[in-house]
């Protein structure tokens, strides 16, 4: 399937759909517990990563949590 991932056209071989969790694994995204995902403009709850599916033509954005502290 063909996706747009972070603005870039991306081919995922031999898959017609994937869960968001599987997509992040396929893309070798590390430390996925700190990743926020937007699917077709909607930010997903982390609890939905297993159940939400992506298909050809979808636009996926992901980014890492940004935080820290002085302590």
């Amino acid at each position: 399937m063909q996706l747009t991932v972070n603005g870039k056209q991306t081919s995922i071989a031999d898959q017609e759909t994937l869960s968001v969790t599987s997509l992040l694994e396929t893309l070798q995204v590390s430390q996925r517990e700190y990743v926020t995902v937007e699917l077709n403009g909607e930010i997903l709850d982390r609890a939905d990563f297993d159940g939400a599916t992506v298909k050809s033509g979808d636009a996926v954005e992901f980014l890492y949590f940004m935080g820290g502290g002085a302590a």
Binding site: L63, Y64, F65, M66, G67, A70
Partner: protein, 131 residues
Amino acid sequence: MLKLPRAIFDALIVHAREGFPLEVCGILGGLDGEVSGHFPMINLDASSEHFMMDPKEQFGVIKELRAKGLAMVAVYHSHPASPARPSAEDIRLALTPDISHVIVSLAEPEPVLKSFRITDGVVEPEEISLI
């Protein structure tokens, strides 16, 4: 090396002072280590010791930069009462690859701004060139 326009350097100091005693945070956009845009962000923690950006706001900035052919070059935050060096939490949460981490300290009478590269928990100071 992080190339930082003097006007944005000054704006970061102003942002940190305006937010005091809370931490402020933001994103610096540009290309190839040269900053050309400054995006103050909401600190969801509203804390003097922590910051957390709003992912929705982050997505908006990233897309705006991409549409201009730019990228995120650095994230910054302030340390209202501690030195300009990454805390253990800063290091642990430095997850975005290939960006600089700028810290503005207001712990001394004169603000101190430093930049770091943090990769897999390893911190390296980074030279800042004012342009």
